[in-house]
C-alpha cells in the first residue's frame, strides 16, 4: 500500500511517553534510573514499591526538565501544576493508582513543525505532562500461553513525560518524522536517551475524515509507529470500502505480528476516578521559567542555521547533520580539524549512509579522530576517495586503526617511481597509440592513462600519470 497516497483523509494525533532517563533518580524517590541489565526488583524502595505508609516526594530536577521540554516546544508553562491519582487495578501498579497530571499539566499549547511532502506541517502540542512509569510484566512465552506472570518493579516510578498533540498529523510518515524530531529535541536538551530500551512509547489516535476515532496503544518502537498506523489506516479504509462502519475503540498494537487487535470498545471505557494526589502539594512553577529559559541549550533548528553560516555547508547537509545531536557533535569535532565542507560530505553522506546500511547508530561509529585522520590522508593525496570509503567500512565492520588499515590493504597511492616505471612500460608497449598522439589525436593519451592505471591496479593518481606521460612523450 502506498502510505502517502492517503493524505487529506487521514487524521492522526499522538501521545508520546518518554522516559526522562537522564535523571539520576526516579520521579518520587531516590532510586536510580539506571537499571538496564539489573536483576529484577533490585532497584526499588518503599516509595516506588508503594509500601503502606511510604510517601512520594517530587524530584525537582524532573520538574525542571519538564519545563525545559515545554519551553523547547514553545509551550506555555503553567502557573501552578498539580498531580492527580489515576485509579486502576493492575499487577504492575503497586499502589493501585498511578500518579500523573490531569487538569493542571505542567505545559500546554505548544507547536512543533515537521516536514510534510513539499511543505512544513505545524503540529499543535496540546499538553506536556509528567507521570510515573508502572512496573514491568514479564510473561513466560506470550501473554496467551504464559501460565504465570513475573513482575519487575525496577521501572516503577521512572519519570515519564507525556507529549500530547492535537490531531494535526496527516500521514504515518509525518507521524514518524514528528517522533524523530521530538526525540531529537529531547536529546539536545540532554533529558533523554532514545536509544535505551523502553525509552519511548506511543499511543496514536487515528481516523479517516468523518469516521470514528481509534486509539492504538503500546507502540514501543520508532519504526512501529509508522507500521502500526499504516496497518490501521488500511484496515479502516478496507472497512469503509466494504461499507462497514468503523467503531470507536482502543486497539493494541502487536509489534511481532504487525497488526492491531481490539483491546476495549467505547462501552467498556475505563473509569479512572482521577482526583488530586493529597500527598503532593501543588507547585508554583511559573516562577521557575526565566531561570530555565536562560539555561536552554541550542536546539536543532538553531544549530542547523549556525552550521550553514559558520561552516558554509549546504542546507541538506546541515539538516542531516543536526537531526541527531550525536551526529552534530561528531561533525563539529571533525569540522574543527578539517575542511568543514569536506567533513560535511563525509559525515552526512558517507558515514551516515554506511551506518544506515548497517542499521547502526552514530554512537556505534568509530571516533571522530579516526575520521579526521582519514580526511587528512585524502586531502594530502595519500589515499583516494575510494580508498577512504574502504577504510571507513573496515573501521565500522572490524574496527582498528585507520593507519594500519591503509598499510595492510595497500590503500596508499604507489610511489612516484613505480608510477614512472609503469608509464615507461606502457610507452614501450603501445607504440601505435603514441604515434596517434603525436599525429594530433589527444584522446590517445586517455587510452595510455588507462593502461597505466590498469598496470598499477588503479592505485596511481591519474593526474600524475597524465603529467608523466606528456613529459616523456615530449622527449621521445
Amino acid at each position: 500500500m502506498d502510505g502517502d497516497g492517503l493524505e487529506g483523509s487521514v487524521i492522526i494525533g499522538l501521545e508520546i511517553h518518554c522516559q526522562l532517563n537522564k535523571l539520576n533518580s526516579k520521579l518520587f524517590c531516590g532510586c536510580s534510573t539506571k537499571q538496564q541489565g539489573l536483576e529484577p526488583n533490585t532497584m526499588t524502595c518503599p516509595v516506588c514499591l508503594g509500601l503502606p505508609g511510604a510517601l512520594p516526594v517530587i524530584n525537582k530536577k524532573a520538574v525542571e526538565y519538564s519545563i525545559m521540554v515545554g519551553l523547547a516546544l514553545s509551550c506555555e508553562i503553567a502557573e501552578h501544576t498539580q498531580f492527580y491519582r489515576k485509579n486502576y487495578y493492575y499487577p504492575d501498579l503497586p499502589r493501585g493508582f498511578q500518579i500523573t497530571q490531569y487538569d493542571w499539566p505542567i505545559a500546554s499549547n505548544g507547536i512543533l513543525t515537521v516536514e510534510a511532502d513539499g511543505e512544513e506541517r505545524t503540529v499543535r502540542i496540546r499538553r506536556v505532562h509528567m507521570e510515573e512509569d508502572p512496573g514491568r510484566l514479564v510473561h513466560q512465552g506470550s501473554i496467551e500461553t504464559s501460565k504465570f506472570v513475573l513482575v519487575d518493579y525496577n521501572r516503577s516510578g521512572m519519570p515519564l513525560l507525556e507529549v500530547v498533540t492535537e490531531p494535526d498529523l496527516r500521514s504515518p510518515k509525518e507521524a514518524r518524522r514528528f517522533i524523530n524530531k521530538l526525540r531529537n529535541i529531547l536529546e539536545y536538551l540532554d533529558v533523554f536517551d532514545g536509544s535505551l530500551e523502553g525509552a519511548l512509547r506511543v499511543d496514536a489516535n487515528v481516523s479517516l475524515r468523518g469516521g470514528a476515532r481509534v486509539e492504538i496503544k503500546n507502540i514501543s518502537s520508532y519504526k512501529g509507529v509508522e507500521r502500526a498506523l499504516l496497518f490501521e489506516i488500511s484496515r479502516q479504509q478496507n472497512m469503509k470500502r466494504r461499507g462497514v462502519k468503523v467503531t470507536q475503540e482502543t486497539r493494541h498494537y502487536d509489534d511481532e505480528r504487525n497488526c492491531t487487535i481490539t483491546l476495549r470498545t467505547k462501552e467498556q471505557a475505563e473509569e479512572y476516578r482521577y482526583y488530586p494526589e493529597p500527598d503532593l502539594v501543588p507547585l508554583s512553577v511559573k516562577s521557575w521559567e526565566p531561570r530555565l529559559k536562560a539555561t536552554l541549550p541550542e536546539l536543532p533548528d538553531a544549530r542547523r542555521e549556525r552550521f550553514k553560516k559558520q561552516y558554509s555547508i549546504s542546507d541538506d547537509h546541515a539538516k542531516v547533520i543536526t537531526s541527531e545531536i550525536r551526529v552534530a557533535n561528531y561533525y563539529e569535532c571533525v569540522a574543527g580539524k578539517c575542511e568543514p565542507r569536506l567533513a560535511a560530505t563525509w559525515v552526512a553522506d558517507y558515514l551516515k549512509g554506511e551506518l544506515n546500511y548497517r542499521d547502526r547508530d552514530i554512537k556505534d561509529a568509530f571516533e571522530p579522530e579516526k575520521m579526521i585522520y582519514i580526511l587528512e590522508q585524502l586531502k594530502t593525496g595519500i589515499i583516494t576517495d575510494k580508498g577512504a570509503v574502504e577504510v571507513m567500512r573496515a573501521l565500522l565492520d572490524e574496527g582498528g586503526d585507520p593507519k594500519d588499515i591503509i598499510l595492510s590493504r595497500n590503500l596508499a597511492k604507489v610511489e612516484t617511481d613505480i608510477t614512472k616505471a609503469a608509464v615507461k612500460d606502457v610507452i614501450k608497449e603501445n607504440l601505435e597509440a603514441i604515434r596517434d598522439y603525436k599525429d594530433g589525436k589527444p584522446q590517445a593519451l586517455n587510452y595510455l592513462v588507462g593502461k597505466v592505471m590498469k598496470k598499477t591496479n588503479g592505485r596511481a593518481d591519474p593526474a600524475e600519470v597524465n603529467l608523466l606521460l606528456r613529459e616523456l612523450l615530449e622527449c621521445t
Binding site: L51, P52, Y89, V151, P278
Partner: protein, 460 residues
C-alpha cells in the same frame, strides 16, 4: 534490677493480666533491650526509658503492623515511620502496637479484626476510636504515653472516652511518612498521655519538618516551653454549633463549668459562631471515603499481607483476598468512596465537599481574628456500650460532629478531661488557629493544674 527494665516488666505484667485488649502486638524483647541500654547509659534522650505505645497504623521496622486488619496479617514493615524513628532517637521504649478500628475507620475500636478494645472505666463500653487501643493503654497504665492518629477525631475521641489527654496537631506539623493512610489530607499523628505535660513532651519529639513528607511544614517551636500556668487575657470562643442537639446534658454542663473555671482564672469567653459546621460531617465522610477508596487499592495480596488462593488469574485472586481481608466498615467506605469519585458523581460529591471544606476553613480563620482559642465538647456523649451502634453506622458517624471540622480545616486541638458522668470521663477540647499549639497547650495545662479530673480508673 535496673530501674527502666523494672518499669518495663511492670507494664508487661499489667498488660498480661489486662482485660482491655489494648494491644495487637507486643514487643517485650525490644522494650527490655532499649530499657537495658538506657539503664546502662548507652541510650539517652528526652524520652529515655519512657514507655510509649504506637498505634498499629504506624509502621515499625521489624514489628508486625496490621492496621487492625486481616488483610495485613503477617505484614512486617521494612522501615520505621518518621515519628517512630524520632521516638527511638530520643530513647523511648516502644512497648508494642495498639489496637484500632480497622484502617482507622470508626469511633469505637470495634471494627478491629483483632477484637474490640474495652474502656478501662467500664469494660462493657468502647474506648472510643480509632486510636482506642492507645487511649485505653494510656488510661490503663499499660504504657506511659502513646501515639495515635487523628483523621476525624480519632485521637481526641478516645482521649475523651478514656479520660486522658490527646492532641491533634496542625496539619503538616508532624510527618506522615510511615503512617498507613486512611485519608491523607485529614490525618495527623497525635500524642496521647495522662497529662498535658507528657503530651507536650511527646509532641516536641515528633513535630518538625520531614523532607520525606511533601505536606510537612518547616515550623520550629518547643511545646514544653509553653507549659505555663497562665490564661490571663486569653479570649476563649465558645462555638454555639458545638453544643447542639445530641449533646448530652452532662457533657454540656461539664464543658460550661470548665469555661467558667478558665474565666475565673483570668480568661475571657464569648459565644461565637462557625456557621458551616452543619455541613462538616457530610463533607468529612465524602473526602475521607474518597481518599480511602484510593489508598486501600494497594492491598491486593500480591506483595505483602494476606494471601489466599493459588493457580487462579490475578483478578480472581485479588478479589478474593480483598473480599476476605477487609471488614464490613472498610468495605462500606471503599464502596462509597469509589462511587463518589466516579465519573458523573465527582462534581456532585467530591468537589462539593472540597468547597465545604474551604468554607469551614474560612469559618475558623474568621473566628480566630476575635478569639485565641475555642472551647467545645470533644464528644457529644460519654463512651457508649460495645455493640450499641452495631446495626446503624450512620448514628455512629454522628458522634464525630464536634471533632471533624478541626480536621477539615487543618487546625490543632487538644482534648483534656473536664468531668465525669457517673464513672465515665468527659472531655473538653481547646481548638487553636494554625500552629497555635502553644496556646492550646497553655490553656489545657492551666486548666489541668486547677482541676482534679486527672484520675485513674477504678482498680488501676
Amino acid at each position: 534490677m535496673a530501674l527502666y527494665e523494672e518499669s518495663v516488666h511492670k507494664a508487661f505484667d499489667r498488660i498480661k493480666h489486662s482485660k482491655l485488649n489494648a494491644y495487637i502486638t507486643l514487643d517485650k524483647e525490644g522494650a527490655l533491650e532499649t530499657a537495658g541500654k538506657v539503664d546502662d547509659g548507652k541510650v539517652s534522650g528526652r524520652l529515655a526509658g519512657m514507655t510509649v505505645a504506637v498505634k498499629d497504623c504506624i509502621t515499625t521496622k521489624g514489628l508486625l503492623t496490621t492496621c487492625g486488619s486481616k488483610i495485613l496479617s503477617g505484614y512486617v514493615p521494612p522501615f520505621d515511620a518518621e515519628v517512630v524513628a524520632r521516638l527511638r532517637k530520643e530513647g523511648a521504649v516502644i512497648t508494642g502496637k495498639t489496637n484500632m478500628d480497622e484502617f482507622a475507620m470508626g469511633t469505637s475500636t470495634e471494627s478491629s479484626y483483632y477484637g474490640p478494645t474495652k474502656n478501662p472505666w467500664d469494660l462493657t463500653r468502647v474506648p472510643g476510636g480509632s486510636s482506642g487501643g492507645s487511649g485505653a493503654a494510656v488510661a490503663g497504665l499499660e504504657c506511659r504515653m502513646a501515639l495515635g492518629t487523628d483523621t476525624g477525631g480519632s485521637v481526641r475521641c478516645p482521649a475523651s472516652f478514656c479520660g486522658v489527654v490527646g492532641i491533634k496537631p496542625t496539619y503538616g506539623l508532624v510527618s506522615r511518612y510511615g503512617v498507613i493512610a486512611y485519608a491523607n489530607s485529614l490525618e495527623q499523628v497525635g500524642p496521647m498521655a495522662r497529662n498535658v505535660s507528657d503530651a507536650a513532651l511527646l509532641l516536641d519529639v515528633i513535630a518538625g519538618h520531614d523532607p520525606k513528607d511533601s505536606t510537612s511544614v518547616p515550623h520550629d517551636a518547643c511545646y514544653t516551653d509553653h507549659l505555663v500556668e497562665d490564661v490571663k487575657g486569653l479570649t476563649i470562643g465558645v462555638p454555639k454549633e458545638y453544643f447542639g442537639e445530641g449533646t448530652d446534658k452532662k457533657v454540656d454542663n461539664a464543658v460550661w463549668s470548665a469555661i467558667m473555671k478558665l474565666d475565673k482564672l483570668g480568661a475571657d469567653y464569648k459565644e461565637v459562631s462557625l456557621p458551616h459546621t452543619k455541613y462538616a460531617l457530610s463533607a468529612y465522610y465524602i473526602i475521607a471515603m474518597c481518599e480511602a477508596s484510593s489508598n486501600l487499592a494497594r492491598f491486593d495480596g500480591l506483595r505483602y499481607g494476606l494471601r489466599i488462593g493459588k493457580d487462579e488469574n490475578w483478578h480472581t485472586t485479588f478479589s478474593r483476598i480483598r473480599a476476605e481481608g477487609f471488614g464490613e466498615e472498610v468495605k462500606r467506605r471503599i464502596m462509597l468512596g469509589t462511587y463518589a469519585l466516579s465519573e458523573g458523581y465527582y462534581g456532585k460529591y467530591y468537589l462539593k465537599a472540597l468547597k465545604v471544606r474551604t468554607l469551614i476553613k474560612q469559618d475558623f480563620e474568621k473566628v480566630f481574628k476575635g478569639v485565641d482559642v475555642l472551647a467545645a465538647p470533644t464528644m457529644p456523649t460519654t463512651a457508649f456500650k460495645i455493640g450499641e451502634h452495631a446495626d446503624d453506622p450512620l448514628s455512629m458517624y454522628m458522634a464525630d460532629i464536634d471533632t471533624v471540622p478541626v480536621n477539615l480545616a487543618g487546625v490543632p486541638s487538644i482534648s483534656v478531661p473536664c468531668g465525669f458522668a457517673g464513672k465515665l470521663p468527659i472531655g473538653i477540647q481547646f481548638i487553636g488557629g494554625f500552629f497555635d499549639e502553644p496556646k492550646i497547650i497553655r490553656t489545657a495545662h492551666t486548666y489541668e493544674l486547677n482541676t482534679d479530673f486527672q484520675k485513674l480508673p477504678e482498680g488501676f
